[in-house]
């Protein structure tokens, strides 16, 4: 349980950075850390004690492989979610560079032409 808890501390730190910090790049970093934390969480959910990677190598016993291997499905989910995180980050960086060009600052509290 403790390891899940530590992991959620990582998640909450990313969330805090995303919400409370004013610098645009800091916000992006918060997003990245949050993505990392959630990926790690999903992998931890599928870990089996003394587990081996879910890759069948030549000369390996099938039944033993099924017994020992970690859960493969979370890894699939994480592969997809890593890609999604990368895409979101690329879009965020593009928008923040464009914002910097328009406002000449990275400070979110000065980027406030919209009210509401």
């Amino acid at each position: 349980m403790l390891i899940y808890f530590l992991n959620s501390i990582l998640f909450v730190m990313g969330l805090y950075c995303l919400i409370a910090k004013k610098h645009l790049v800091k916000k992006i970093i918060g997003m990245v850390i949050m993505e990392y934390a959630i990926n790690l969480f999903i992998i931890l959910l599928g870990y089996k004690k003394g587990g081996i990677p879910p890759i069948l190598l030549p000369g390996m016993e099938k039944s033993q492989f099924v017994q020992q291997s970690v859960d493969p499905l979370p890894q699939v989910l994480v592969l997809t979610s890593i890609v999604i995180g990368l895409s979101v980050m690329a879009l965020m960086v593009a928008i923040s560079l464009r914002l910097y060009e328009k406002y000449k600052t990275f400070d979110m509290s000065e980027i406030r032409r919209l009210h509401g």
Partner: protein, 205 residues
């Protein structure tokens, strides 16, 4: 083994504390990269080499793109408008979140003993049914290939979105041609071999 996991996680947490609280933005970016590196090793220890290798490449790309987004070296964080109330309230909210999360995690299966009701079926059948000895790829590209189509579409969307956002201007003026010459050199100007590069760079320097 478990001790290693805890140590690596604490490494990640310290790294992200530095990333969040560092004054210099470059320091934040680099510590985010450090967290990614440590995560890759953690994935390797957790028996997920596919994720580890993907995390490696993603971490490098994240590092490079984030470096591009910090525009100058002495780029310090903003401290003048520190909204104490907002920070305090968010900290209280996150504390509550952690407490509830801790209570909720009691209902999960113990660490190291997943349920694996579907996972076991995949492990048993995947190699015969899909022919891929890497079970993860077998699931990703065959059982759940529809997800992978979605994933490829997500990248496609994000890249298209980045291009759209980085356009020079959005709205046309009336009767104005919008064929703007781009900053990338013309096709004919591009050298096709190394010799041309080196001769031209000599002449310019």
């Amino acid at each position: 083994m478990l001790f290693l996991f805890y140590t690596l996680l604490i490494f990640c947490i310290i790294g992200s504390i530095i990333a969040i609280e560092a004054r210099n933005i470059l320091a934040s970016v680099i510590s985010a990269g450090v967290v990614g590196m440590a995560l890759s090793i953690l994935f390797l220890f957790l028996g997920a080499p596919d994720i580890a290798i993907t995390q490696v490449v993603v971490e490098i790309i994240v590092l490079i793109v984030l470096i591009r987004s910090t525009v100058s070296l002495d780029n310090t964080a903003i401290t003048k408008h520190r909204d104490t109330f907002a920070i305090l309230s968010s900290l209280i909210f996150f504390g509550l979140f952690l407490v509830f999360a801790f209570m909720a995690f009691q209902g999960l299966p113990t660490f190291g003993e997943p349920i694996m009701s579907v996972g076991r079926q995949y492990l048993e059948n995947s190699v015969n049914q899909t022919g891929a000895s890497n079970v993860v790829m077998g699931i990703l590209m065959d059982y759940r290939a529809y997800d992978t189509l979605g994933e490829a579409t997500v990248i496609f969307t994000a890249i298209l979105g980045a291009f759209v956002v980085l356009r020079a201007k959005g709205k046309k003026k009336k009767e104005e041609s919008d064929k703007i010459r781009v900053g990338i050199p013309e096709k004919e100007d591009l050298p096709m071999s190394l010799d041309q590069i080196e001769t031209s760079s000599d002449s310019t320097s």
